[in-house]
């Protein structure tokens, strides 16, 4: 243990604790800006400077470990003045338009500037006019707001291994941009939005499409319907001051009806359908040897984009099942429209997703128009929903609970856990086990695939055969897993895994790029816990037991993997190599 003093208060912390973390032990909050709990300290901004033993040298608290006998001063006249100068310098480079910025009220720089009461008239302003990048339709980059903290670079390069963004040039000309100044759409970007989730300012934000929805809601020719993704229900509360993991499902149904949606569906329902299709796929390949193993999940559009660009040799392994978002869209415009006698041309399907890539998924291939129309018209993120709710004049938190619309609204525990890493795998195993053995798993909780470890492995005994599964989240964790499979293939050995789940975002969808700001592992855990609780609270916890799903197949799709199911609920992938290997 290390013993030292901070602001003349004694602290005792394990070796290796940074001064920043140690200070919290004595309720001292050293301000930071470039530091993020998810990322390694780069020591770029210099806001966290402190002094030791009153010396002249100022050290950065975020990356310096506390040592025995240190006497740290975190705030004195000098230190605060240097911090203020640093902030003034950052602001001298930053556009002044807070009032019309998407981060207004939620911006880390704005908060620091307000806390420090910055008045920076003395310093010259240098803001370079640069056109924003809107090429992806999912993410918008406003380069003028970038404060070069480096978070997005670390996220895109180290955390996600995508390498769409980098720093170019140096010194005063340093800027963040896709390499070679190509557009984001031309770059390796997979639209996961993790950059926007970690950006401290309004430099990288989701493409806000709320205006489109307002207009649709007021369009008498449109019948607006909506679906809510699994993880949105346990995160949207954070935008209203509730703890992460608070399950607001029924309030959301209520709020969405108030907004004017004619029908409120739950993506979890489609998650159950996805499981029925995918588990059936698995049985085909595993039990009947028809198709490639391992089977790899495909409901994450960032992951499929990443795969098509970098790992297209695995195309045959991908589940052809669409994502729940797309399944719900096509079913709404066919099954639901038919049943209720609504002209599908009038249906306007909105999806509320944790994810910026879902915007990209809407037009991914022509199969996204399987209903004869655009299956899902627009996808917005949790953050956009929060803004809509705040605009709407609804007292969201005091609303009475409501129910979802039947036919496409009921869900099982298996459907709701899609939002956490390992959730798809767990849900699929529950149903696949039943399909293979005709029996229910003794314990429906597959602990081996839960949690925040980058790669999780587990084995499920199905009829005496061990089924090996792997779950990876955060795209940087994918390469290792796939390489193990490749090596086994090359050596002619049996595949190390039969079933692989990949989620692009660390933590899974609860850590999605479109979720409320301030994500870290603690929050990921709490958000996931909310979903697992939702699962436990459900009477029915296996997708194939969902009565509405059973009805869907009986009355519409016939059976899993039927021709009709293939036509409506499945898709294809194309190799779009970025680098040659």
């Amino acid at each position: 243990m290390i013993k030292a003093r901070i602001n003349d208060l004694p602290v005792e912390v394990p070796e290796g604790t940074t001064i920043l973390d140690a200070a919290r032990q004595v309720q001292v909050c050293i301000p930071t800006l470039c530091k993020h709990r998810d990322l390694l300290s780069t020591a770029a901004c210099g806001i966290c400077i402190v002094r030791n033993k009153g010396g002249n040298k100022m050290i950065r608290a975020c990356c310096t470990p506390l040592e025995n006998g240190m006497e740290i001063t975190t705030h004195d006249r000098d230190i605060v003045e240097v911090r203020r100068s640093t902030l003034e310098l950052i602001l001298s480079n930053h556009p002044n338009g807070c009032l019309t910025c998407e981060r207004n009220g939620e911006c880390e720089l704005q908060k620091l500037a307000a806390d420090f009461n910055i008045n920076q008239e003395a310093i010259k302003r240098y803001v370079k006019e640069t056109p924003p990048d809107t090429s992806t339709g999912s993410i918008v980059i406003d380069f003028t707001k970038c404060i070069k903290c480096g978070r997005c670079i670390q996220v895109c390069q180290e955390m996600q291994d995508v390498w769409a963004l980098s720093f170019l040039e140096r010194g005063i000309n340093t800027r963040m941009a896709p390499a070679g100044d190509i557009t984001l759409a031309e770059s390796p970007c997979v639209k996961c939005g993790q950059c926007s989730a970690h950006c401290p300012t309004g430099a990288i934000v989701e493409n806000d499409e709320t205006q489109t929805i307002w207009e649709a809601l007021h369009d008498p020719n449109k019948v607006c319907v909506v679906q809510i993704a699994p993880s949105v229900r346990v995160t949207v509360g954070e935008a209203f001051g509730l703890p992460p993991g608070t399950n607001l499902t029924r309030k959301l149904y209520s709020a969405l009806r108030r907004l004017g949606f004619k029908a409120v569906f739950d993506t979890n329902f489609a998650a159950d359908v996805t499981i029925v299709e995918e588990a059936s796929e698995f049985i085909e390949r595993f039990a009947h040897k028809r198709g490639a193993l391992p089977l790899i999940t495909s409901c994450c559009p960032s992951w499929t984009d990443f795969m098509e660009k970098n790992h297209w040799d695995f195309i045959d392994n991908f589940s052809t099942a669409k994502s729940p978002q797309q399944m719900l869209g096509v079913l709404a415009k066919t099954y639901y429209a038919e049943k209720l006698g609504i002209d599908p041309a009038k249906l306007y399907m909105v999806s509320i997703m944790p994810c910026t890539a879902k915007k990209y998924e809407l037009t991914r291939t022509e199969e996204m128009y399987a209903s004869g129309f655009k299956d899902v018209d627009v996808a917005i993120t949790t953050r956009e929903l929060a803004r809509m709710l705040k605009q709407s004049g609804i007292e969201f938190l005091s609303l009475p609970d409501a129910e979802a619309d039947s036919l496409l609204g009921d869900y099982t525990g298996a459907g709701t856990i899609f939002g956490a890493t390992g959730g798809v795998m767990e849900a699929a195993v529950r149903t696949a086990y039943f399909y293979a053995t005709g029996k229910k798993l003794k314990s429906l909780d597959l602990e081996a695939v839960r949690g925040l470890q980058g790669v999780k492995e587990g084995t499920v005994d199905i009829n005496g055969t061990p089924v090996r599964v792997a779950v990876a989240h955060g795209l940087a964790n994918v390469e290792d897993v796939l390489n193990r499979v490749r090596e086994a293939q090359k050596a002619g050995k049996e595949t190390p895994y039969h079933f692989i789940e990949v989620m692009a975002c660390p933590g899974g969808c609860i850590g999605g790029g479109g979720q409320p700001y301030g994500v870290d592992n603690e929050r990921r855990q709490k958000r996931a816990a909310g979903l697992y609780q939702d699962d436990r609270d459900k009477q029915i916890r296996c997708s194939h037991e969902n009565p509405e799903v059973i009805r869907l197949y009986k009355e519409f799709l016939d059976k899993p993997l039927s021709t009709k199911a293939h036509h409506l609920l499945h898709t294809r992938y194309t190799a779009r190599p970025l680098y040659k290997r």
């Binding site: 390069q157 390498w163 980098s166 390499a179």
Partner: protein
């Protein structure tokens, strides 16, 4: 040993290596592959690799950078990030004649800047656009060539000229323009 010293008949020190003409794109791939292979395809060798690629093509064409990324199996983002960081690497083509003005301290206190201004004025270039539109001249400053006894110093291609003045600098450039124009 004399033979090891790199100098030509005029008795000048080679400040830059003689540039080769930019190769045809197909030839480019071959040259880049050769260079990357020579360095064992290790991404840690990115800086020396880029130096050799630049020597080969006289600057770093963006498609060459993308090729380097491919051969090294790293993201273009990494290669561009490194290539744009170091002042030595030129992403834009340089002129046929490189005019480098030393702005080290010794030359500076002996009034190197008026010489720079005069030469720039004569060629119609500036700091942001150092190359003439006809790609004939590039004018840049360099910090200290170690010829401080001769300050202020201008190096044109490989030739070091000492004790320069604005008038001499302009005259030097004009003699080169004349040489180029002559049939």
């Amino acid at each position: 040993m004399i033979s090891n010293l790199n100098h030509d008949l005029n008795g000048t020190v080679a400040v830059t290596t003689a540039p080769a003409p930019a190769a045809h794109p197909a030839g480019r791939a071959a040259a880049i592959t050769r260079i990357v292979e020579k360095h064992g395809r290790r991404s840690s060798r990115l800086v020396p690799i880029l130096q050799e690629v630049q020597e080969e093509f006289r600057y770093l064409p963006p498609d060459a950078l993308a090729l380097v990324a491919e051969k090294l199996n790293v993201a273009p983002a990494r290669v561009f990030g490194v290539a744009t960081f170091y002042a030595h690497f030129a992403i834009k083509p340089k002129g046929k004649h490189l005019v480098r003005l030393c702005d080290g301290t010794a030359c500076h206190v002996k009034d190197s800047i008026p010489i720079l201004d005069a030469i720039r004025r004569r060629l119609g270039v500036d700091a942001r656009h150092p190359t003439t539109p006809d790609l004939m001249f590039t004018v840049e400053t360099v910090a200290c060539l170690g010829a401080c006894g001769l300050a202020p110093v201008v190096v044109v291609d490989d030739q070091v000229h000492g004790a320069m003045t604005p008038a001499k600098g302009v005259a030097l450039v004009e003699s080169m323009i004349a040489k180029e124009a002559a049939p």
